[in-house]
Amino acid sequence: MKLDVRMPIGLFFVLVGALLTVYGAVTLHEPGASPTGVPIDLVWGAVLLAFGIVMVTLARRARRLGV
């Protein structure tokens, strides 16, 4: 297979995760940023970023090993 699907998926989540994390950090104390009391943009952005990094790492590893 020419394209490892984990690479675009990983990159997408890295970008969206980074975007949400930064946005969540910048707007942390703004009214309406945490309607439920949980800084969810910040928390979930970090989760997405971590998932994206794992996917990219797996894709790179598979490429290196020639799997």
């Binding site: 297979m1 020419k2 394209l3 699907v5 675009p8 998926i9 990159l11 997408f12 989540f13 970008l15 969206v16 975007l19 949400l20 946005y23 969540g24 707007t27 009214p31 309406g32 940023a33 945490s34 309607p35 439920t36 009391g37 949980v38 969810i40 943009d41 979930w44 952005g45 989760v47 997405l48 998932f51």
Partner: protein, 610 residues
């Protein structure tokens, strides 16, 4: 209307760029029609498995299951734990060896190899019609939703979404659809998981949700656990909100509809056919079953929560103004919504409005009718701040697109291989069929858009789709089961059985009516001989009648007609086909081991929520 911030648009824009990018990157790998329609049979099992699941994750899943969750409670999980998992295990273990092993390029083509040309033609035509119609319903639902919640133009929403799907399938064919389905799968999981987390937190976890739903159950005349226990009240149709008794549920949904869909529908089977080996093809539905069994928590829970949750004070929810549905003459103001909400406290689920007057609709007992299809989207708007809202909306868009792409890729394959190549222009060079596949993609999407404008008058998308599946798919499983496991079944038998089964479905539906419904699309158009407690009960029994009719007619006509010689049935029928050997490194990669895990976990879930 909710204000969508720049950050939300940025997430949606990124998503669009990535799905189109995947199509562009894969364009170079599409050289033959097999690359375009079957991904060159070169995709690993975990990818086809997630695509198998995602192709089914259309509007009816995310919006419809949330709607059913608000309407019926946890009993909606029967669509998964009874209505999907057993069938997914069955196709993986027993049917995939024939689909994949026969080298058929589509499900109708298997019917041609096993039976005859007319059985294939009947299946191909009905399937192709159904896929574009389903795709149209999906588009319609999306356009309506985006217009209602965000004030986006209905026409522009469906044209842009259809355009994106068209572009990535046109460029990369099935591989592009499958890759994007995997991205869409993760997006839907990550988009809805925080919704469930925040929603459950707001209602006090599962105990809090149960307590609140007990109040709703009491108000509707049910026992306290009617919305939070899946089996306990299935003894009698009047004791549960679904309005179905256990036999109709298990036979109608769990056996006929479920096996009819998961085991014969080319939309999902096509993903498994793209796998890179027989073992991978057999593991595809089993891998899909693992996340599938957990999906009730992701898509049903939001509906249940939306019914009883108190919206957070700081939410940016759309209570200011709700735009009218396309074509409606009125604008509904906050006052009407607030008055209706006061009359029927129902969490964040808004009332269904009369399109002419803008007033909330009421049922025969004077209770406000809720717009259940808005349960999940309203929860999203109430609980997600800017940023995460973009992710949630993108997940919604992804579900619409993956469902549509599933339909379109199945349509272009069946049209090109089973109709065009078979009846219009056989014997042309491969490049011609590849070009036809791309033309069929454009045509399929154009018809879907037209169907979107037609499919406008149904309350719950799920109920309607189940009805369509009942007519077309319910008899199908009888045909496949007999075809694969009874070598004596003949082409004449299969064809007569399918026609008789579909007719039986129409007659049964035409002679029955759900309680409180009026004669028309809901049934009774041939006279009302039977009344069912609910629309779903009628649908399930229609399916049972269709299946039994097809099963019996196929057997009778087969016995009266000449069977094909056994030598022609190798690879197509159980008993005349060599058992597949699993080429796996570890025992847990064997389809049988995976199936045992899947079934064990499903039983456990049924017990926990009994």
């Amino acid at each position: 209307m909710t204000h969508v911030a720049g950050i939300d648009y940025a997430v949606m824009g990124l998503y669009s760029a990535f799905v189109l990018g995947i199509g562009v990157l894969l364009r170079r790998s599409v050289r033959t029609s097999e690359d375009f329609f079957l991904s060159g049979r070169a995709i690993p099992a975990w990818v086809t498995g997630l695509a198998f699941l995602s192709a089914n994750l259309g509007a009816q899943e995310v919006i419809g299951m949330g709607a059913s969750g608000a309407k019926y409670g946890i009993a909606t999980s029967h669509f998964y734990w009874i209505g999907a998992i057993p069938a997914m295990v069955f196709i993986g273990l027993f049917m995939m060896p024939f689909y994949y092993g026969s080298r058929a390029r589509s499900v109708p083509e298997y019917l041609k190899l096993r039976f005859d040309e007319k059985t294939r033609a009947l299946n191909a035509v009905s399937f192709a019609t159904m896929t574009v119609f389903s795709s149209g319903i999906s588009l319609y639902a999306m356009g309506k939703l985006l217009h209602l919640l965000l004030g986006w133009s209905f026409d522009a929403s469906i044209l842009v979404a259809a355009g994106v799907v068209l572009a990535y399938i046109f460029l990369g064919g099935l591989t592009s659809a499958i890759y994007n389905e995997v991205l869409q799968f993760f997006l839907i999981v990550f988009g809805f998981a925080p919704l469930v987390f925040l929603g459950l937190r707001a209602v006090g976890g599962w105990p809090g949700l149960s307590a609140r739903l007990a109040t709703v159950a009491a108000a509707n005349g049910y026992a306290p656990g009617a919305y939070t226990r899946s089996w306990a009240f299935m003894g009698h149709a009047a004791h549960n909100p679904v309005g179905v008794e256990w036999f109709g549920l298990v036979m109608g949904l769990g056996f006929v509809l479920s096996f009819g869909y998961w085991c014969t529908d080319f939309l999902v089977v096509q993903r498994a056919m793209a796998a890179n080996s027989m073992t991978a093809a057999r593991r595809t539905p089993l891998i899909a079953a693992l996340p599938k069994m957990l999906f009730p928590f992701l898509v049903i829970f939001p509906g249940m929560i939306a019914l009883v949750v108190t919206p957070p004070a700081a939410s940016r929810a759309p209570s200011a103004q709700v735009a009218p549905a396309p074509g409606a003459a009125v604008t509904v103001t906050a006052t009407a919504t607030a008055t209706a909400a006061a009359a029927a406290p129902a969490g964040v689920v808004p009332p269904k409005l009369d399109p002419r007057t803008g007033a909330p609709l009421r049922d025969a007992r004077g209770r406000v009718v809720l717009d259940y299809d808005l349960a999940t989207p309203m929860l999203l708007l109430n609980f997600f701040p800017a940023g995460l809202l973009g992710l949630g909306l993108t997940a919604l868009l992804a579900s619409f697109m993956s469902g549509m792409a599933g339909n379109v890729t199945a349509f272009n394959t069946v049209w090109t291989y089973d109709l065009y190549q078979s009846y219009v222009r056989p014997g042309a060079p491969d490049a011609h069929y590849l070009a036809m596949g791309r033309i069929a993609t454009v045509a399929g999407i154009a018809i879907s858009i037209a169907a979107a404008y037609v499919a406008a008058s149904f309350n719950n998308i799920m109920d309607f789709l189940q009805l369509v599946f009942a007519f077309v798919n319910a008899p199908l499983f009888a045909t496949f089961a007999l075809g694969m496991f009874w070598k004596r079944a003949t082409g004449h038998g299969a064809f007569a059985g399918l026609v008789a089964g579909t007719l039986a479905a129409a007659v049964h539906h035409g002679l029955s009516l759900p309680a409180g419904a009026s004669v028309g699309v809901k049934g009774g158009y041939l006279g009302v001989l039977a009344t069912f407690p609910s629309e779903l009960a009628q649908t399930f029994w229609t399916a049972i009648v269709a299946w039994v009719t097809c099963f019996l007619v196929t057997i009778l006509v087969s016995l009266a007609t000449r069977p094909r010689p056994e030598a022609e049935l190798g690879g197509l029928v159980y008993g005349l086909t060599e058992k597949p050997r699993d080429a796996v490194a570890h025992w847990y990669e064997r389809p049988v081991a995976l199936a045992a895990v899947v079934l064990g976990l499903t039983v456990l879930l049924n017990v926990v929520f009994f």
